[in-house]
């Protein structure tokens, strides 16, 4: 009796596992198929080699460069803001803060993670963007920089919680050993604790970046959606994700435009894959040590 029950549960779990693999394979296959057809019709060179994105002009132009530039600019900007702040916050929470403050901060960070992205985008649009415009004296507040600010806010909870875990799981003997050699508290933290936690912190950063690259809603609401190569971070840009989300509804199924959006998805998939791969490389290396 018990044996059959075990067998059934085993089978169910097996099917669930297989299904998730099948779904991923299907998604990728679909993406790949539509993308390849697009490359065949439009040409890979025209796609990757041009910055003009005019899907509805005649003839239509599908140059992805400005979209990649938009995504990269917003993402890099978000990382420059979120990584130092996130690590500093993680260090403060795990090593420096008194217990009462630590508990408050931890729940605040969890709260930050729970805010839906459309709400963050909305706040970014009606509050952050006007301030960006006024303070920096720009023609519009809907810029790559605004997108970076909003995305940094979204990446920080990931970076903080995972870095904090990594820092806290550094054995206490490491820090004691450093202090016993005459290091100050800060020297011990910077030179030993942080070094020991580094693989975990890098994984945290990568996961934070992963969250940022894939984000669509909030970015679309605050970056101005101008598909051109930006000259500075204080100009409107359009990201790959925002393009897919904004244009998918207007396309005709099986049209070139429709397929071009899958081609963007394919490029996005490739980039996320590389980021994940690098993250794995780092966490794998730490395990071997």
């Amino acid at each position: 009796m018990k044996k059959t029950k075990d067998k059934i549960i085993e089978k169910i779990i097996f099917i669930c596992g297989i299904l998730s693999i099948i779904f991923v394979a299907l998604i990728f296959g679909f993406l790949f198929k539509e993308g390849i057809e697009f490359f065949r019709d439009f040409g890979l060179k025209n796609f990757l080699g041009s910055a003009v994105w005019r899907p509805t002009s005649v003839p239509p132009q599908f140059g992805i460069l400005s979209l990649i530039a938009g995504s990269v600019l917003v993402t890099v900007g978000a990382c420059i803001i979120a990584v130092p702040l996130g690590i500093a916050a993680a260090l403060y929470i795990s090593e420096l803060a008194p217990k009462a403050i630590r508990d408050i901060l931890k729940s605040l960070v969890e709260l930050m993670a729970a805010v839906p992205s459309v709400v963050i985008g909305f706040v970014g649009m009606v509050i952050v963007a006007p301030y960006v415009r006024i303070i920096l004296n720009l023609p519009t507040g809907l810029t790559a920089f605004t997108g970076s600010l909003v995305l940094a806010f979204m990446a920080m909870p990931t970076i903080i919680t995972i870095s904090e875990d990594a820092i806290r799981s550094v054995p206490k003997q490491y820090k004691d050993g450093a202090l016993a050699l005459g290091a100050t508290n800060w020297q011990a933290i910077r030179r030993v604790v942080l070094m020991a936690a580094m693989p975990g912190i890098i994984a945290a950063i990568m996961l934070g970046i992963g969250r940022v690259i894939g984000e669509t809603m909030a970015v679309m609401m605050v970056t101005g959606n101008a598909a051109h190569i930006p000259h500075s971070i204080f100009e409107p840009v359009r990201t790959m994700t925002a393009t897919i989300a904004a244009e998918m509804g207007e396309t005709v199924r099986e049209s070139l435009h429709y397929r071009s959006l899958f081609a963007i998805g394919l490029i996005l998939f490739l980039i996320t894959f590389i980021v994940n791969f690098v993250a794995d490389l780092f966490s794998g290396r730490s395990k071997n040590q």
């Binding site: 490491y174 050993g177 450093a178 016993a180 050699l181 005459g182 030179r191 030993v192 040590q289």
Partner: protein, 262 residues
């Protein structure tokens, strides 16, 4: 020779513990400890597990300060100065009193960086060549240099446990402390490695004051000149090692060293 020095009282008192109490929260882990440790000798602390040996050792370099809820009363004098005086500089205290922990705890950085760590944080030297010299000498002093001179850039975690423990000793002596505290330094090692570390301690004794905590009585008998016996947070008896093991004055000591409990 050594004994003669002791008898004539020529050796200085390096560490003097006076009316010392330590509490973890409400729990009194050390009760009224009075003890003086002389320079350039090996003093061992023995006693059953949980009697407060590590706690006492960790009070001497104030590394207990890192544990939340620790409170102390009384004084510990090092070179005549009370280290529990609020104005005492703790970082320089810890530089002067090195510590080797129960489990080898090399930092997860290169072998070289482990040894140069103390030099850097204490700004002992900035010249690369001087630093190289000190690192080499420290590694030679712990008889590790020949084994690892070709892989100084490798992670310290690639070493065997015994090598790691030697490295931890090397990194302590690199900053030239006067005192080395060792908390059961051999408990993670096999008997052969234990012997080697003990031989090393006897060499180091010529230049350093050594305090070693051990629950291994044979080890205390082999390496130390003075022995303190502790029980339930109290110092029961302190005397020359030979006296403690052959004709102890207290009944508890006698019971313990003759193996009746512990």
């Amino acid at each position: 020779m050594d004994e003669g020095f002791f008898e004539n009282g020529e050796k200085m008192e390096q560490i003097e513990i006076k009316d010392f109490y330590l509490y973890y929260g409400k729990f009194c882990a050390l009760e009224n400890i009075n003890l003086s440790i002389k320079e350039k000798r090996i003093t061992s602390m023995i006693g059953p597990s949980g009697c407060g040996k590590s706690t006492l050792l960790r009070s001497i370099n104030r590394i207990n300060d890192t544990i939340e809820g620790v409170r102390t009363t009384g004084q510990i004098f090092v070179n005549g100065k009370n280290i529990y005086d609020p104005s005492y500089d703790i970082d320089s205290l810890r530089r002067n009193i090195g510590m080797v922990f129960q489990r080898p705890n090399p930092f997860p950085i290169s072998i070289y960086k482990n040894v140069s760590f103390g030099l850097e944080v204490n700004r002992i030297c900035s010249k690369k060549s001087v630093m190289n010299e000190i690192v080499e000498k420290s590694l030679r002093d712990v008889l590790l240099w020949d084994e690892i001179k070709d892989k100084l850039k490798k992670s310290a975690l690639t070493l065997t446990l015994e090598q790691q423990q030697r490295l931890c000793i090397a990194r302590v002596i690199a900053v030239k402390p006067q005192v080395i505290l060792l908390d059961e330094p051999c408990s993670a090692l096999d008997p052969v490695a234990t012997r080697k570390i003990e031989e090393l301690m006897l060499i180091l004794k010529q230049n350093y004051t050594i305090v070693i905590v051990t629950h291994n009585m044979q080890q205390a008998a082999r390496v130390s000149q003075d022995t303190a016996f502790m029980l339930l947070g109290k110092l029961i008896e302190f005397n020359k090692t030979s006296t403690i093991f052959t004709k102890p004055k207290k009944k508890e000591t006698d019971d313990y060293v003759s193996g009746r409990f512990g």
